[in-house]
């Protein structure tokens, strides 16, 4: 156990992890169809390598990286590419996205996987980075940032510590808990490989103390390695936010608007670490993930290994279906998750949880006037003053909100959760940040237009001046009136 540093704010929501925390991870049966969107990560969508009608094998690359920040996509099983279609993505916008529709053939036949990297802890970091990049691994805690791009940070910054993020502070979600309990050695091995790639001398595993079995399993798996410290951190939402967990475990505060690498720390979710271990040791790309399926209306909640692309409806059917109409259907946790537009959207690489909550769990209430109780100020982990920012936004004074730091809001929802008046504060801030970034884009565009116009006018002036000078020279007499020059 290492030392702990105090962090600001935070709340203690009703965790309700007991619904699934004792349910061992089980794999679901392969559904009839898989829907694989080309963009399941931050950055550019992957570029298609296959066409409809083609047969693919399990682990075969279906779409490749496009540009510096992107991630490829692989077939979760063998089968037939039935279609390349525009299909509703698991995003609250409900917008469609280019999606590969794969019909499994039931053979589950592997493609020729790349060879395991021998002795990865002494291998050339570049070889491992390439392997991770080709395996389509993204941040599986929900950030879905391409893991290989993050591994490159080792060449730009001096990384001292690799932080394995096992905080899992979202209520209900227990997939990381189960992964740590059941596959601790894989998580630890992956972390050691990544620490080697980034040149980090130390590894810290941060786990909230409401997961004692996970702490125990990880401590045991880490015991042979002196460079690894497993730290039990207070169960205090949003402890799983990387900046917060880094502050709690290392005492280092990441400067605003900077990467955590700036303070010598890079954080990875336990699922990501394990996926990297699989890619390096087994040559397997990311084609499935553990998803917590939970909530009061799910008949048999559990932690399920879901092939990427399985529809939410199929996953819920595997869990015995729903007992009643859910009040909310969520992709992720209840604090920061996204509402699911329908049950027909697929599970993607960033789906940690599928929650079907009953009305009693949502605890919804109509909004009432702010009584300035200050609970939101105490709860905010970012040191913001939600009550004041909301007042500005309500008056459409977005610049006022920006001055108070609305741009620093991480959207953790602590303020909304604690508000006795049930004011949707996070929604206010997301709205403000959306409009502010639009305005900023517009301002930049205008500034660019203006500077181009000025440069153009300046060029015209120069041309006119040159013309005037030649004419004056032709006349043989220089102009004596300075006003001529000024007007030229």
């Amino acid at each position: 156990m290492g030392s702990l540093f105090p962090v600001r704010g935070g709340v203690h929501p009703d965790y309700r992890k007991g619904l699934t925390s004792e349910k061992a991870i089980v794999a679901m049966a392969m559904p009839e169809l898989l829907y694989l969107p080309l963009q399941q990560h931050v950055g550019a969508p992957a570029q298609l390598l296959v066409a409809a009608g083609e047969r693919v094998r399990k682990g075969q690359m279906l779409a490749r990286c496009d540009g510096a920040i992107s991630a490829p996509l692989h077939a979760p099983t063998s089968g037939l590419i039935k279609d390349i279609a525009e299909i509703t993505a698991p995003h609250p916008s409900g917008l469609a996205q280019t999606t590969v529709v794969l019909e499994p053939d039931g053979l589950d036949e592997w493609t020729n996987l790349p060879e395991p990297i021998p002795d990865p802890l002494n291998a050339d970091p570049q070889v491992i980075r390439e392997r991770v990049a080709n395996s389509g691994i993204v941040g599986m805690g929900g950030a879905v940032f391409p893991a290989a791009v993050k591994l490159n940070l080792g060449s730009q910054y001096k990384i001292e510590t690799l932080l394995v993020n096992g905080a899992e502070c979202e209520p209900y979600v227990t997939c990381d808990d189960r992964v740590m309990r059941e596959y601790a050695s894989e998580v630890i091995d992956g972390a050691r490989i990544m620490a080697h790639v980034m040149g980090a001398a130390k590894i810290i595993v941060g786990i909230e103390r409401n997961k004692p079995q996970a702490i125990e399993a990880m401590t045991k798996a880490a015991a042979p390695y002196a460079e690894i410290t497993v730290i039990g951190v207070p169960a205090q939402y949003p402890m799983g936010y990387a900046h917060e967990l880094i502050l709690a475990t290392t005492g280092r505060e990441t400067p605003a608007g900077k990467r955590t690498a700036e303070v010598g720390v890079v954080a990875y979710n336990v699922g990501t670490t394990r996926a990297i271990d699989h890619a390096v040791r087994l040559g397997r790309p990311l084609i499935s993930r553990v998803v917590t399926v939970s909530g009061g209306t799910v008949r048999e909640p559990g932690n399920i290994v879901v092939p990427i692309g399985a529809r939410v409806a199929d996953v819920i059917a595997f869990c015995g279906g729903l007992t009643s109409q859910p009040a909310r259907l969520i992709n992720g946790g209840p604090m920061m998750g996204q509402p699911l537009p329908s049950l027909d959207v697929p599970v993607v690489k960033g789906t940690a949880g599928i929650l079907a909550l009953a009305a009693s769990e949502v605890n919804d209430a109509p909004e009432s006037p702010c009584i300035r109780c200050g609970s939101c100020v105490d709860a905010c982990p970012c040191g913001l003053v939600p009550v004041e920012m909301a007042a500005y936004i309500r008056k459409d004074n977005l610049q006022g909100a920006a001055r108070l730091g609305v741009g620093d809001c991480i959207g953790c929802g602590s303020c909304s959760w604690v508000c006795p008046s049930h004011i949707p504060l996070v929604q206010y801030f997301q709205y403000a940040n959306g409009v502010l970034s639009d305005q900023e884009r517009e301002r930049r565009k205008n500034a660019r237009t203006k500077s181009l116009a000025e440069a153009h006018a300046h060029r015209l002036e120069k041309v006119a001046a040159a013309k005037a000078a030649t004419q004056a020279a032709r006349k043989g007499a220089p102009s004596h009136t300075p006003t001529d020059k000024a007007s030229a």
Binding site: N363, S368, I371, G405, V426
Partner: protein
């Protein structure tokens, strides 16, 4: 542009809190002190208490109805009841019915609804009402009585109480001075504190409430118990009460040590007047006090200092209401200067330098 089934953004779960629960908890905390004092001051106090709360609720209902807002949810939030309750606790227990009604007019339409209703008012409504009444009707508002417990010999029955509250007022020869008022009057007559103080009820009687004063000023111990209950329920934090009582105590003790003939001591300041009620129930009013903890501490200290200054040097024997109102006006400024430091930024809002721990 919401698709059916999407609804608002996260979070999709919520703490089991609401405004009504908060208000009801505060009312619960006031029950022991109020019940005991209603018993001590008998039927006239009970009548005035009921009239004041009724008037505040009625005033709120009328204002809300006049502005076409839903009446029932507004009344159910409990804020008008709380305002009426606190106002009733600051009135002389045998004051006539119209003080409660006029107080309600000061508190609800003028101090609260004119600003936009719950959460919008700058000044504490109950204290605006108390100060408005005190300045307008100084004699009525300082006609204290010593306790006349319910059903005790010599206490007014219901019929007599109706006479007192709705008719002739406090009978002659019953009124008594509050401890703070007595000491102040004696001082103006040239009698030093050291001689006047032994004549007020002893500290124990003061603390229990066996003395003249308003419902909220007497029985300090029960008010304190209510305040500690609020702290235990995390409705309020220690910052405002400790700041206010601490400042009052320190000023009293210091000046008493320097000149005991002129200045009353710190403990006397704590148990007399509305110190404890003010510190736990008035100065902690969410709407009119700062939102951050450091701000609340500053606010509390300011209330304590001003209370001591007014009690000691001004014309009025009690200064809690004035002190709270003065500090209310400073709340926006205190808020502005006590914002927390933002994550990853220095106090002035600039990003932290990228330095590493060794």
């Amino acid at each position: 542009m919401s698709t059916p089934g999407i609804g608002p953004s996260a979070p999709f779960t919520h703490a089991a809190t609401n405004v009504q629960k908060t208000m009801v908890t505060v009312l619960l905390a006031l029950v022991p002190a109020t019940a005991f004092n209603l018993y001590l001051f008998g039927w006239p106090a009970i009548l005035l208490f009921a009239v004041t709360i009724g008037a505040c609720v009625a005033a709120e209902a009328i204002c809300v109805a006049l502005t076409d807002r839903p009446v029932q949810p507004t009344l159910l939030d409990g804020s008008a009841v709380l305002t009426g309750w606190l106002l009733a606790m600051s009135l002389p227990p045998w004051a006539p019915w119209w003080t409660g009604v006029l107080g309600a007019v000061f508190a609800i339409p003028l101090a609260k609804q004119a600003f936009g209703g719950l959460g919008q008012n700058v000044f504490n409504p109950a204290m605006v009402a108390r100060v408005g009444l005190l300045i307008s009707f100084p004699v009525v508002m300082t006609a204290w009585v010593v306790p006349h417990p319910l059903f005790a010999a010599g206490s007014p029955g219901l019929a007599e109480a109706i006479q007192i509250t709705f008719g002739t007022g406090v009978p002659d020869g019953v009124s008594a001075a509050s401890a703070l008022g007595f000491v102040k009057t004696e001082l103006t007559r040239g009698i030093p504190v050291s001689q006047s103080l032994p004549q007020v009820p002893d500290l124990m009687d003061m603390a229990l409430g066996l003395r003249a004063g308003s419902l909220g000023e007497t029985s300090v111990l029960l008010v304190l118990a209510g305040g500690l209950f609020l702290m235990a329920r995390r409705i309020i934090s220690w910052h405002t009460p400790v700041g206010m009582l601490g400042a009052l105590f320190v000023m009293g003790t210091l000046f008493h040590a320097v000149n005991p003939e002129r200045f009353t001591d710190g403990v006397f300041h704590l148990v007399s007047g509305a110190s404890v009620l003010g510190a736990f129930f008035i100065a902690t009013d969410y709407v009119t006090s700062p939102v951050s903890k450091p701000g609340q501490l500053i606010f509390g200290i300011g209330c304590g200092l001003l209370t001591w200054v007014i009690r000691t040097f001004a014309g009025y024997p009690e200064g809690v209401a004035f002190a709270v109102l003065l500090m209310n006006s400073l709340t926006p400024i205190i808020d502005q200067y006590t914002r927390p430091r933002r994550f990853g930024r220095s106090r002035d809002g600039e990003p932290l330098p990228a330095k590493r721990a060794p």
